[in-house]
């Protein structure tokens, strides 16, 4: 059992859960994730470890409550518990040794890019973060990232920071030169756009993929993605890959495998009328 230490609302439908998992807190590295199962009958879902506090034995998970399972996790109150947390899984981020890295985060992806920025900073790499959201209230982890270097905030509606997409801001930073690597985490279209932007100059671009997973240990193959023409299991070979090699179209397509099921589960959970109200 993993007790919830804190539940903090970061943005509409986005919460930060601090939860007890001492061993994982102690050894996790940037880029790694856990598989969480709330309790009996619940799904196993992969969540990136956004931060950890080994002294307190806690890890931080950032959850976008989009489906039934994530809504149930997001609703957990301090003192309540998650039954199963397995990890840390996946390969740690390949970190730049020195120089200047740009960390691009879109939506909850910003939470995932945060530990990468942290680790880069810790080894003396200069970090510029470009983070985006639909509007001001969707921008998360800004203060945490400011503590690590320059931050450019972009909002789609211009309600905060620069108006427009993170890619536009990234184009400007790249134009200024001296970028040694780009780490991009966010929705698939965003990661794809970032990879396309850096492709001509060949700046190494690492993306973190979020395919459907079951075990997270390489035994089901449900998480397979095509990278450089080869099938890889994101849970063990990734989740981070060379963005210039990833078949994003296939990833986006496979992510739709259970869309109808997700809708059904949610409707049952919330009741059709409530969903109607939210829209």
């Amino acid at each position: 059992m993993h007790t919830i230490l804190a539940n903090t609302q970061l943005a509409p439908n986005v919460v930060r859960l601090d939860v007890v998992a001492p061993r994982i807190a102690e050894i996790r590295r940037a880029g790694q994730f856990v598989i969480v199962r709330k309790g009996r009958g619940a799904e196993r879902i992969p969540l990136t470890i956004a931060d950890a506090d080994p002294a307190r034995g806690g890890i931080t998970l950032v959850i976008q409550a989009v489906g039934k399972s994530t809504r149930e996790l997001a609703a957990l109150r301090p003192g309540e518990a998650i039954q199963d947390i397995a990890g840390p899984l996946g390969q740690p981020t390949e970190l730049l040794e020195r120089g200047h890295a740009v960390c691009v985060g879109g939506g909850v992806g910003t939470a995932v890019v945060h530990p990468i920025a942290q680790s880069l900073r810790a080894r003396g790499v200069r970090v510029t973060s470009i983070i985006g959201g639909r509007a001001k209230e969707w921008v998360i982890f800004e203060a945490e990232l400011r503590a690590l270097g320059a931050v450019i905030v972009c909002t789609d509606d211009g309600s905060y920071g620069r108006p427009g997409f993170v890619t536009q801001a990234l184009a400007d930073v790249l134009a200024d030169g001296a970028v040694d690597a780009v780490y991009a985490v966010g929705p698939v279209p965003m990661m794809r756009a970032v990879a396309e932007l850096t492709r001509p100059s060949g700046v190494p671009t690492i993306v973190s993929l979020n395919p459907v997973m079951v075990d997270g240990t390489g035994m089901c193959g449900g998480c397979r993605v095509t990278v450089g023409g080869e099938t890889k299991f994101a849970c063990v070979d990734g989740p981070e890959f060379d963005g210039h090699q990833v078949d994003f179209a296939e990833l986006a397509d496979r992510l739709g495998t259970y869309r109808l099921f997700e809708r059904e589960a949610l409707e049952r959970h919330e009741g059709p009328c409530k969903i109607g109200l939210e829209q």
């Binding site: 061993r23 990890g87 240990t217 099938t231 589960a265």
Partner: protein, 469 residues
């Protein structure tokens, strides 16, 4: 009751049939197909055993169960003695009685098979084991006094559970680490309920816990802890992580939506109970037409599961002929009864899909049998121009599994063979002192009984190692 029949009287008894659920009714349910012998059937079948002076069946059993002994007790109506005899040779008879390929082991060499049908050893084993479970026999085996030594077992499949049970009996302090949230290995995530009720495995796990075995789930050795760390914290380690890495066909279209590895398909259904969606949260795609590639137990389990999940047409696609199917004979028979279609001598070359990325069919080539290969079986060769498409919306790939490098890859000093399996000697000892291994991670995908045998052998070797002899 006594068991003194003349050989002639014994020979006059025909092999008894296993009562089973009606094929029509069971197609849509996951409850167990075989219902088990009644007492009367069991006694009759037991009396068919000729109690040979030098019985062949024992050597046909990978763990050398003294088969005539327990059958003799059973035939005499002494079930407590039959149960005790069986359980002292085999820790999980309720499992092996259901899943062992008896037709290639004990029953293959039974002399009664020379003229007619062999004694139904598997059914009798199951009967005695179920009786023992129902009567709580075998639950309380005495353990040796505490040795003060600690052993770690990695993986809770049949190899790991058997080793844990033996080690605790020897008086050692045992902790089992399991990657999944539920212990049992293939017995819970792979083999479906309609063949092996999960309750049997759950009871066994509870029994081990009651005897002091600690089971820690959600711990992945190679990730949560390294093997080296375990080696430091424990006096000995037994690795029983199975061979869980799915092999794909490597043909175009394999990443379309609707293509599953058998591992994923079965894990979703068995471990995650996806058949009960939306009562549970894990979904599974259900298709009207399902093609399963492969011919082993895994393929049979997948295709029969597909039928139960609502497929109108569920087809086995196998590149050799019916004779070569590696699955247990009973599974093939049950599959046929349940209306499974078989396409023999067929090899997939491509998964085809529609514009939205969903599977619509499996393109295959017909095969002919050519020269014998290394295994002595005639190698299938493609017939030129024989391409055809099996229309389907789900494709399940069940062509085998390999060693998962998660643990082994993080431990360079652990010697592996060229397939990535751990090298271990006949006692299970690996290249690292105090580290033993057994089951599928050593043998490659094999059987439950061999895994259990390895667990028992290694436990004995570990005990000797811990006692310094």
């Amino acid at each position: 009751m006594s068991n003194d029949l003349t050989p002639k009287e014994r020979m006059a008894i025909d092999r008894q049939h296993m009562p089973e659920q009606d094929a029509g009714a069971r197609r849509r349910t996951f409850t167990e197909v075989n219902l088990g012998f009644t007492e009367q059937l069991a006694l009759l079948e037991a009396r068919r055993c000729l109690l040979c002076k030098s019985p062949k069946c024992i050597s046909g059993c990978p763990v050398l169960v003294d088969i005539p002994r327990f059958i003799n007790f059973l035939a005499a109506g002494n079930l407590p003695a039959a149960a005790e005899s069986l359980l002292s040779d085999n820790a999980l008879p309720a499992v092996t009685g259901r899943v062992c390929p008896q037709e290639t082991q004990c029953e293959e060499v039974c002399v009664r098979g020379v003229k007619g049908a062999p004694v139904a050893v598997g059914y009798l084993e199951r009967y005695v084991a179920d009786w023992a479970r129902a009567h709580g026999v075998g639950a309380e085996q005495p353990s040796a006094p505490p040795s003060g030594k600690r052993a770690a077992v990695i993986g809770s499949g049949p190899a790991g559970l058997t080793a844990a049970g033996e080690l605790v009996k020897y008086g050692h302090d045992v902790t089992v680490y399991e990657a999944f949230h539920t212990p049992g290995g293939v017995l819970v995530y792979g083999i479906p309920e309609f063949r092996l009720p999960k309750q049997i495995v759950e009871d066994e796990v509870e029994r081990l816990k009651a005897r002091g075995v600690k089971i820690e789930c959600n711990v992945i050795i190679g990730k949560t802890y390294t093997l080296r760390e375990l080696r430091e914290r424990f006096d000995a380690v037994f690795i029983a992580v199975g061979a869980g890495l799915p092999v794909f066909m490597n043909v175009p279209g394999e990443n379309l939506k609707g293509v599953y590895s058998a591992n994923e398909y079965l894990t979703r259904t068995n471990l995650m109970a996806a058949y009960a969606f939306p009562e549970v949260d894990t979904p599974i795609l259900t298709g009207k037409r399902v093609a399963v590639v492969g011919g082993g137990n895994v393929a049979m389990d997948a295709v029969r599961t597909a039928k139960r999940l609502g497929a109108d047409e569920a087809t086995i696609v196998y590149r050799r002929g019916k004779k070569e199917l590696p699955a247990r004979i009973e599974e093939i028979h049950h599959a046929e009864e349940e209306g499974i279609r078989f396409e023999f001598l067929v090899a997939p070359v491509e998964v085809v899909g529609n514009a939205e990325g969903w599977v619509t069919g499996l393109t295959c080539l017909r095969m002919a049998l050519g020269e014998p290969d290394d295994s002595g079986r005639r190698r299938p060769v493609p017939v030129p121009g024989s391409e055809f498409v099996i229309a389907c919306d789900i494709v399940i790939v069940a062509i085998g599994t390999r060693a998962n490098p998660l643990l082994t890859g993080s431990t360079p000093e652990l010697k592996l063979n060229k397939w990535g399996n751990i090298e271990a000697d006949e006692r299970g000892a690996t290249s690292i002192p105090g580290v033993y291994a057994g089951g599928d991670i050593v043998r490659g995908a094999a059987t439950v009984i061999l895994a259990m045998g390895d667990g028992k052998t290694a436990a004995r070797a570990i005990d000797a190692y811990l006692r310094g002899s």
